[in-house]
Symmetry: C2
Subunit: 547 residues, 2 copies
């Protein structure tokens, strides 16, 4: 299709307009932008439809695989987005949505994000980031100090020494955990004699060099699924990720961990790393970090702590003791998009020893040259946005004491919610909140009573029915869109270690009031009376009456 010269020129001019002419304030996009600026909560409440459409319906708006040939007006596109994307999004910031690890964002994050995006810096190299590079290094030092409390002299020495890095900033906890284990693996299989290191020679040669058949990662069965990915990716293998038993508080059983380590060594498998969890994703539990550090030291093995969730507990003078021992970890993962209240896409891993990350150092001819200040030489990712700015903003504007308040309030809110659940006859608290996460289930008083007397077989039958009830309540509640709790599966000792389905609540949104928590429980009781669910409860009643 030959185009006339004139129309080509017109197209070109339109194209330049896209790059040079801002959206008018009274354009559709300008108005939405302003509405979000003025009142993001109101905007979201007004535009996100409460009642959930089925995913199949939503998919219909997104089922054309063809890239549109012709340009579209921004206003038309914005209308489309408003109706089909914004309206059908999840109200992650709503205070009644206590099932996610995302919460309301501080208002200042929005305009600051715009500055970050407008600047469009690339943190891989200092030539495209300049002041963002020292700022990111400062953020890493601040978090490092929060965990390891080294001396002023230590930070003066290392904070801006480009040959080393106190940590790596990344898109999230998964990359952070992988980075830690990558560094650990390469450190264990470092160059020695003729062996040029696993970096150069690969996994197979490294095992021949070490004289073992494999490496192992040990974590409790509450470990995050990213560790399975890490084991796969790094060539360790998922079967060598050992998920160790937990005690009644969902903390790793030290005796089992110790036995497992012994067994591995007998089998010629080298423990690469113990991983402690400071705030498990499902129950918010904290492993006995001190004891794990002792064991790691004893067997000469790396010790990583996944504090993606619980790390910010260190802000609290009252509760930081819950993480005792974390300062002995070789590395610690913290997610900024969780309890630092930064928008999605910001994680960090901090290393006790500034030399550890050298095990994964890399360079190229045109960037991250030796001796440059480029941060890209110590990160798994390449090009990266300046998200560290938002962490810097949070730490500066909210301050240590502000975060302390947020943490304290969250933990206390979770304890209050736990009490409410315990006091309610038709709910069962499954795991108490050690931090600000708890699990529970709907379980009518008579059924609870029957469970106390039931044998294993009967217990299993009751729990299977209850599982169905929980799943259906959770789904109905989510679809109704007023509030949200998530669900998971746990194997509490009280039910002979068999898995049951539970509700999971995360109390991190500072706007979640006690009234809202009351209404969440009330709503679940209401759903239990729904015709799709009540017959299950009737059957339970019959079963337990007969028993």
């Amino acid at each position: 299709m030959p185009r006339s010269k004139d129309s080509a020129r017109a197209n070109l001019q339109n194209l330049y307009r896209i790059f040079t002419v801002p959206e008018a304030p009274d354009s559709t996009l300008g108005r939405i932008d302003q509405a979000i600026t003025d009142n993001v909560t109101g905007f979201l409440q007004k535009h996100i439809v409460a009642l959930e459409n089925s995913l199949t319906d939503i998919e219909k708006s997104f089922d054309d695989p063809r890239i549109p040939e012709e340009p579209t007006f921004v206003s038309d596109y914005t209308e489309f987005i408003k109706e089909n994307l914004v309206a059908q999004s999840v109200h992650t910031a709503a205070p009644g949505f206590i099932g996610h690890m995302t919460s309301a964002l501080p208002y200042f994050m929005l305009p600051l994000s715009r500055i970050m995006i407008a600047l469009n810096q690339n943190l891989v190299k200092v030539e495209t980031s300049k002041a963002f590079t020292p700022m990111e290094r400062q953020v890493l030092a601040m978090l490092h100090r929060l965990i390891y409390s080294e001396t002023d002299e230590f930070y003066r020495r290392w904070i801006h020494d480009s040959r080393y890095a106190l940590g790596a900033f990344c898109s999230g906890g998964t990359i952070a955990n992988i980075t830690a284990l990558w560094a650990a693996r390469n450190q264990l299989c470092a160059p020695a004699g003729n062996f040029r290191g696993i970096t150069n020679e690969g996994f197979y040669s490294a095992m021949q060099h070490l004289g073992c058949r494999g490496l192992a990662i040990l974590v409790s069965r509450r470990g995050h699924y990213s560790l399975g990915k890490a084991a796969d990716l790094l060539g360790i293998g998922r079967k060598n990720l050992f998920l160790v038993e937990t005690d009644d508080q969902n903390r790793i059983k030290m005796s089992s961990l110790r036995n497992q380590c012994q067994r591995l060594q007998d089998e010629g498998i080298r423990p690469l790393s113990l991983i402690g969890i400071a705030g498990t994703t499902e129950t918010g539990s904290v492993d006995p970090l001190e004891e794990m550090a002792d064991l790691a030291q004893e067997i000469g093995c790396y010790f990583h702590v996944d504090a993606a969730w619980g790390g910010p507990t260190l802000f609290s003078e009252k509760y930081r003791g819950l993480l005792r021992g974390i300062e002995r970890a070789d590395s610690v993962t913290i997610d900024a998009h969780k309890q630092l209240y930064v928008p999605m896409g910001a994680g960090m891993v901090l290393f006790k020893d500034p030399a550890t990350l050298s095990a994964i150092e890399h360079h190229a001819a045109y960037i991250i040259r030796h001796g440059s200040k480029d941060l890209g030489s110590h990160t798994l990712e390449g090009s990266r946005p300046g998200k560290a700015m938002l962490v810097h903003a949070g730490l500066s504007i909210i301050g240590r004491k502000g975060y302390e308040l947020l943490i304290d309030q969250g933990i206390e809110r979770a304890r209050r919610f736990a009490e409410m659940i315990k006091e309610h006859p038709d709910y069962e608290l499954v795991t108490s909140p050690e931090l600000n996460i708890l699990t529970y289930r709907y379980n009518p008083a008579p059924v609870q009573e029957a469970l106390r007397r039931a044998d294993i077989e009967m217990t299993r039958e009751i729990n299977e029915l209850l599982d169905k009830v929980i799943k259906r309540i959770q789904k109905r509640q989510r679809e109704a869109g007023k509030s949200f709790v998530s669900r998971t599966r746990l194997a509490p000792a009280r039910y002979h270690d068999e898995t049951i389905t539970v509700f999971r609540a995360v109390l991190a949104n500072p706007l979640t009031t006690e009234d809202i928590l009351v209404s969440v429980l009330e709503e679940q009781c209401e759903w239990a009376r729904h015709p799709e669910i009540s017959p299950l409860l009737d059957r339970l009643q019959e079963m337990t009456a007969a028993a």
Copy 2:
């Protein structure tokens, strides 16, 4: 330090304000936000200081490792950011900055980014992303179709089938390349008989199962440094990443590639993947993809194409033929934050066969359960922001024809710049632009003349001096802040394959006019007369006069 109850309550109220009260329009942050909205180019021009401060000076603003105890007013913090961060940033969007792969952003990206950030969805699971999930799947299908042009029936079948994925959206090209090679590795070492796959059993067992001593990745020596990271991370080892010779156009030499493959097989190393490059980072060259696909097919090996830079050339009817053969790749990497003009932090990898990504599939009890629509089951990363929305916006608003214009203009602008360089007596074009990247160097006419007659020894001496000249000009130009070209090292055949330092120009910013290109060259000539640089040129003159 015991706090009074009253002051604790006051603190709490201040904290809630952060989450509930927007920045006032006349606040410092509000005014900056508005200024960016009204005229981002003007804002950046006004606030980014032209003259570069030394990094050591900048570091002084970011050298306190202590997290502030007390909260700071948003306005005070904003002043700090304006003076110390914004002012000291890199003007990546300026049309005279032709050394980066980041360019000006379309205006609509800013307000749309705010919508994305305000919604704060998490793409790992549908419960926190809802409409964003099908939208991301659509974006992947659109890019898949751009590359592979499958039938409507194909896309109807796969686009929303949650058990499969046409690709993975990620934070950038590095993760995209790693994801591709991870899938390739796991597919090659898939479960068979008693062997439960490399995923479960790890690299060592996998080699025993395959009966080989290692795996190899083959790419030209222009390959991106992320491939070295991938080789390290995946347990393959950097020594098994073979950097194959290139021809005069910086394309992989097929005869060398073929010989290398043969040699590997003789040594018991299994070729895992050939990697073709569609737009090398340094020279923008495109490998002979068709021939590479033939060879991969012949030796039964995976074929990945790194089109992080050049992929969008497929939008152009005129130039898409340059990438012929890309449709035969098993997977293709494309960066959206490069030539799709999306803000930093968006990459993709597309897979020809929707079943390939199943090789890295994973699940967890509480999310990305089997059968769910959660995108997290097929990505390396975990929690992820809704960046796909901005790609969707670009494809919709700019359209195929709009991107075509951008691509065509870029290539033609690069050709024009190449002509300008060739016509100028004191510049030497080192690599011609195949796409929109070229390299050149300052090289005074008499020196060029002398080089034509020089022997190897003399050539080396001249080039060593020229290298210094180039480095200093590049540094001076960068520090002056008016314009920017990057530099790299190449080994052209004309200089006996010895490496020289060159300027690198990337012509992707639609606002870069011919006048700007003229002034970039003029400025470099001026810097050549700087007292730090001219003595080097005097020495060159003496040397060449003597010869």
